[in-house]
Symmetry: C2
Subunit: 436 residues, 2 copies
């Protein structure tokens, strides 16, 4: 069934993916002489930069996710569909969803990226990554369960293994995750157990390159490294993971027995290139031109982590929210120009306002080109910026309140182990017996 609800007979813009890029585009098209359909397989927009805090029990999932309908659903020209893209027919200008096809005049693909294992997908069950809320909740489950299981057993070697956490990847996510696990163990959980000492947990951060935060200036990498070490995180730099299984990980020649190995090392774009039959780069990103459209099809735009944009210096754009947002806005302007009433913008150029990463309590680094910061001031700034960019008044207040509470009490508010699909697979214990 092809459905094309001919409302007002206006041109139809279909935006697939309600991440930072898709929503920026959809918002900017609210006043366009077009009708707009936003499709996402989720009913919420996720504030991914704080997802690691869900994984480490600092934030509730609801605090960093906002219903897409409450963001763009009230725009008069906009329909929101919770559905999945199965394919695209560019010749017929149709998007195939799970049970229907919809036609488009312009298609904006903003379907993001997943974590990737450099060809070792067999490692995924042993070293989960964090891209979705379910990933984060499953990791929260695994981390908290490791302490619970260590408390239950007598074998000191197995206890040691359970209380060893390895984070693979020294980029911002890996650094933030390692710091957060260390804080969880050494402060929030420290006094809650009777037989084990959570503060004795070993947290190892593995990075194949020579330094953490490789995209930051060297001086800030060094400060991040000392902040991590102050938090008790063990750094293994210039060391690649060579094996990964159910009991731990091998780093170079060294074996580390670990109850939890977490993956923050690689990304792979969503399969948009396949849907579109378009050329892609080595991590699957669709190659677009300066207007962010396919070279051979000006009706199809690709943005955010799904797009590979030509750049003077040959380096790819970082997979961060500001890039996706600026691209979404750029595409919206281009579409408005084509529909008349606006000037066609110049080819896309990313305006880099700087980058930040947090390491833990009172420790962060910020790089704004000439201005560089670290320590307490950078940490406060990081918090303010992240609360500011959260969508929705409620999320801002909720996250700010949860952080304030955690700062004052050293506690974590979201320490639930829930029976999630992903978590059940990771945990082999039967769940039939005691009701409570």
């Amino acid at each position: 069934m092809v459905r094309h609800r001919k409302e007002h007979g206006r041109p139809h813009v279909v935006v697939v993916g309600a991440g930072f890029g898709g929503l920026a585009c959809a918002n900017a098209l609210a006043d366009a002489p077009a009708r707009l359909t936003v499709i996402d397989r989720r009913n919420y927009h996720l504030f991914q930069p704080l997802l690691y805090q869900v994984a480490t029990a600092a934030l509730a999932p609801t605090s960093i996710a906002t219903p897409i309908r409450s963001i763009v659903g009230r725009q008069r020209n906009t329909t929101v569909l919770m559905d999945e893209v199965r394919g695209v027919d560019r010749a017929g200008r149709r998007v195939f969803l799970s049970e229907q096809a919809i036609t488009y005049d312009f298609l904006v693909v903003a379907t993001g990226a997943r974590h990737a294992y450099f060809g070792r997908d067999d490692w995924e069950p042993f070293a989960p990554g964090i891209k979705k809320i379910e990933d984060a909740m499953a990791i929260r489950h695994r981390i908290l369960l490791a302490f619970e299981r260590a408390e239950m057993i007598d074998d000191p070697k197995e206890q040691r293994r359970l209380l060893t956490f390895v984070v693979v990847g020294g980029g911002p996510t890996g650094v933030e995750l390692a710091g957060a696990i260390s804080e969880l163990a050494k402060t929030a959980l420290a006094k809650d157990f009777h037989w084990i000492d959570p503060a004795s947990a070993r947290i190892v951060l593995v990075e194949a390159g020579p330094r953490v935060l490789p995209s930051f200036p060297e001086a800030l990498s060094a400060r991040a490294a000392s902040a991590l070490e102050r938090l008790g995180v063990e750094l293994k730099l210039g060391a690649a993971v060579t094996a990964c299984d159910g009991t731990g990980v091998s780093v170079g020649d060294e074996r580390i027995d670990a109850g939890n190995v977490l993956w923050a090392a690689g990304v792979r774009a969503s399969p948009a290139a396949r849907w579109l039959g378009a050329p892609a780069d080595k991590v699957g990103r669709v190659i677009v031109d300066g207007s962010l459209a396919l070279a051979d099809d000006p009706h199809v735009f690709v943005i955010g982590d799904t797009a590979s944009v030509p750049r003077g210096d040959g380096r790819p754009l970082p997979g961060v929210a500001p890039v996706a947002k600026q691209q979404g806005l750029h595409v919206a302007r281009t579409i408005k120009a084509i529909l008349g009433g606006a000037t066609v913008p110049a080819p896309f150029r990313y305006r880099d306002f700087g980058s930040m990463a947090t390491i833990g309590r009172r420790a962060a680094v910020a790089d704004f080109g000439p201005v560089r910061m670290s320590g307490f001031v950078a940490w406060i700034l990081w918090g303010v910026v992240h609360v500011y960019f959260l969508i929705g008044f409620r999320s801002r207040v909720a996250v700010a309140a949860e952080w304030l509470w955690a700062y004052l009490t050293y506690k974590r508010g979201a320490r639930l182990i829930l029976g999630l699909a992903g978590a059940e697979r990771a945990d082999s214990r039967p769940s039939a017996a005691a009701a409570n």
Copy 2:
């Protein structure tokens, strides 16, 4: 392996289940000359009276769940284990857990109840009940997904079915759930859809008896009924469910096609009677004596929804938090008396301070014997009482803030559809395609 960590050589009290009863008992034993082990298959205590608000997207799961360790884990004589009871050896005074057995001097069983289907367990997949957080999240998923699916399709008959919600059971949970679904549809979601009108949703409350809230005085039942009707809830009283399947429900001779049928009609105690080899009543509750111990075993106590307590008038005690708490306290006093240093308390008698149920915004009923209330005042009181009884400063603030926000904005903050284990089963859509 039998493990009996002989700490201080003190008598060992094992509490199974960290609900209202188990925690009240454990808290009261903090100063007893005994060591204490609290076992629960969850790592959190759940404030069950507000669980329906998680199911209707009003509260986040983290707001009504508190880590057990942060409640009793810091008591110096207390160990918390996250584990499941597989059986009890009363002769050897051992509790069998998933991978070990622990010995006890006193055993307190407080493992609660599950929902029950009066012998029609085959209805469960089509009419889920709410006892666990996962249940509530799965129901939230189903309710929100019904609106999403209705928005996607063109068939008005199927849209009508998807937007029909049937709640079975007119007790407090059923009344609260029906009222909350109605408010969700008619206010929070009302303006967020483009093709369907959520406010046109049909909500039906089915009760086999002649009135809703049968445990309340008739006058308050009548007020609750009018409040429900004002909210747009259709009442079917004196009507029993005769069939239940994937497309709806039969009530007497009437067929109601419904996208969601929710079960709030019956409970069944946890399988403690089987573990203990003890006599039980018809819903599986273990029959105990006036000291809440087994008649033939003064070392084993059973409390809360798992216990059937003799009562002068022959009526069972209601399955509510105050009963469980008072029983937990009573058992703690009895154990202390046996260990010396306290007087053996008189046989357990429930002190009924009254009961309350909320119907929706500004509507509730409260019965305190001579004093009866309904409407706005009862609603405010209901809110204050529930916030007061929430455990932990953080939960109190979080719930109060979420309610205030919802009251002022008419929005719901927890509208996430997550890929939970239970929810995936309920929803047959494949989840492989689009990343985002």
